[in-house]
């Protein structure tokens, strides 16, 4: 794409995208850390995730402020306008991912005080890796303006749903088998639900990227796993 005639405008748009990518990197790190904190019962790591969430909140505010300034001072049009709106929306989704990670980290703190549920650690970690992989992929699609990659993330959301559903059934089985495990299993259930929602945010971001790059919404039916 050709560059803007006004260089400072070009720079502002580039910086905006870089800021969104930076926020994405932090959100990804938060998600990875919270999964590790659950799996390794790592209290310190969980506490660090909780503390770092503030930075994501601040970054969202910063991105919103940049976009407001751009709209007021530059009046972006066409693809520039879509890029600006996309930044606001992606930042919002990333902030929610951060909240989910923080919530998972808090559950990790609780879980560290209960009996370890070793057989379930693997499935939770796998779901976490799958979800974080999607987040990573969609952020790559954003930084490389790759609409096909965004669509690939969007159309593979059912994998997360399937993982989540099987984990849900497994947790139910454990709870029915031994009521003493209900507390820990409920925490894990929420962890799984939060991971599934991070996957949904990745899907949302894919939709935003599609609109940003093509100007049209993704409006074909998306493959879905069965609802629980």
């Amino acid at each position: 794409m050709n560059e803007h005639i006004v260089k400072s405008y070009e720079e502002e748009l580039t910086q905006l995208a870089a800021e969104v990518a930076r926020m994405g990197g932090l959100a990804e790190a938060q998600v990875a850390s919270c999964i590790e904190a659950v799996a390794k019962r790592d209290v310190k790591l969980a506490e660090a995730v909780v503390a770092r969430d503030e930075r994501l909140d601040a970054m969202e505010i910063e991105i919103d402020a940049r976009c407001t300034r751009l709209i007021a001072l530059r009046q972006p049009m066409a693809n520039d306008l879509r890029r600006t709106l996309a930044a606001i929306k992606i930042a919002g989704n990333l902030e929610r991912c951060g909240d989910m990670a923080k919530s998972i980290a808090k559950r990790a703190l609780q879980l560290a005080e209960t009996e370890p549920l070793t057989p379930l650690t693997g499935p939770i970690q796998r779901l976490g890796k799958l979800v974080n992989g999607r987040l990573h992929q969609v952020l790559d699609a954003y930084t490389s303006s790759d609409v096909d990659r965004a669509v690939a993330v969007w159309s593979s959301d059912h994998e997360v749903d399937e993982h989540y559903n099987s984990l849900f059934r497994e947790l139910l089985t454990y709870m029915m088998g031994d009521p003493r495990m209900i507390t820990a299993c409920t925490h894990l259930l929420f962890v799984a639900k939060n991971l599934e929602r991070i996957g949904d945010h990745a899907t949302n971001i894919a939709e935003v990227i599609h609109y940003e790059l093509t100007g049209t919404p993704l409006n074909t039916p998306r493959p879905k796993g069965a609802a629980v």
């Binding site: 050709n2 803007h4 066409a78 306008l81 093509t214 100007g215 919404p217 039916p221 998306r222």
Partner: protein, 271 residues
């Protein structure tokens, strides 16, 4: 769980329904100034009761195109127009068409307000007088008042109709020449950068006026301000190097233009 919304078309208040009547139709228009070709095979439909904005860099041919509609290019020595321009199906270049009568049907407003060196009243009364449109003084006075009201100027000048038109402010002068144009009941109003010499307040008044007038007329406006084109028009046509690159609903042109040249121009990129 994500909800996948089917495509939602928002009811845009300014949208022109598909199939709205075509007022001015241009087909295969070529314009030459001597040996130099200024327009290449331009075909564009301009709808009635809607504002069509012509945008594009300087020298792209948008003003040349505008001037084809009321045969203003006739007045330029060496200018030659080929192709078809129709108003309500009638070829404006037909021999039977009197250009003077044509220009009463197709009013024009220029970049710099150009009131006659006459009183405010006589500026507006000029057209109806030369075309013999009124029977007596009362009818003429009514017509002047109606035109000034439509142009949103009446309240400001009703107590000084005999003062010279050139004594008004720039914005008022522009509204005066718009009143002069609409006093002869035109069907089409052409505007060539009508706000580029005005301050933001006067510009806003003219834009409000354009929005009022488009409920009654077919308006075609040339503007260098992208924001103005976006604000006042329902349809936008982008010209580049004498060619019509792309035309469509203003909303689509400014959110998702199809041609990369349009995109570069409206987003301020060098193509």
């Amino acid at each position: 769980m994500n909800m996948t919304l089917s495509h939602v078309t928002l009811g845009h208040a300014d949208a022109v329904p598909e199939g709205a009547p075509i007022k001015v139709k241009a087909a295969g228009v070529n314009v030459f100034y001597g040996n130099k070709q200024a327009l290449f095979d331009v075909s564009l439909n301009m709808l009635d009761r809607a504002v069509t904005a012509l945008i594009g860099p300087s020298g792209c041919g948008k003003s040349t195109f505008l001037r084809c509609i009321n045969r203003m290019n006739d007045t330029i020595v060496g200018a030659r127009v080929e192709g078809l321009i129709e108003i309500d199906g009638e070829n404006v270049n037909d021999r039977s068409v009197d250009p003077v009568l044509l220009r009463s049907r197709v009013g024009m407003v220029f970049q710099k307000p150009n009131p006659f060196p006459k009183s405010i009243f006589d500026n507006v009364a000029y057209g109806p007088r030369i075309h013999g449109m009124t029977k007596n003084k009362t009818e003429l006075a009514d017509r002047v008042e109606a035109a000034l009201k439509k142009a949103g100027l009446w309240a400001e000048v009703s107590d000084r109709l005999n003062s010279p038109g050139i004594g008004l402010s720039g914005g008022q002068q522009q509204r005066l020449v718009i009143a002069r144009a609409i006093a002869v009941n035109p069907e089409v109003i052409l505007m060539d950068e009508p706000c580029s010499a005005l301050d933001p307040i006067a510009t806003a008044r003219i834009e409000e006026l354009i929005d009022e007038l488009r409920r009654q007329y077919c308006i075609v406006i040339v503007t260098h301000s992208m924001a103005q084109a976006a604000r006042v028009s329902q349809r936008t046509a982008f010209f580049h190097l004498g060619k019509l690159v792309e035309s469509g609903s203003t909303e689509a042109m400014f959110t998702n233009p199809l041609d990369p040249r349009t995109q570069d121009y409206i987003t301020g990129r060098s193509g």
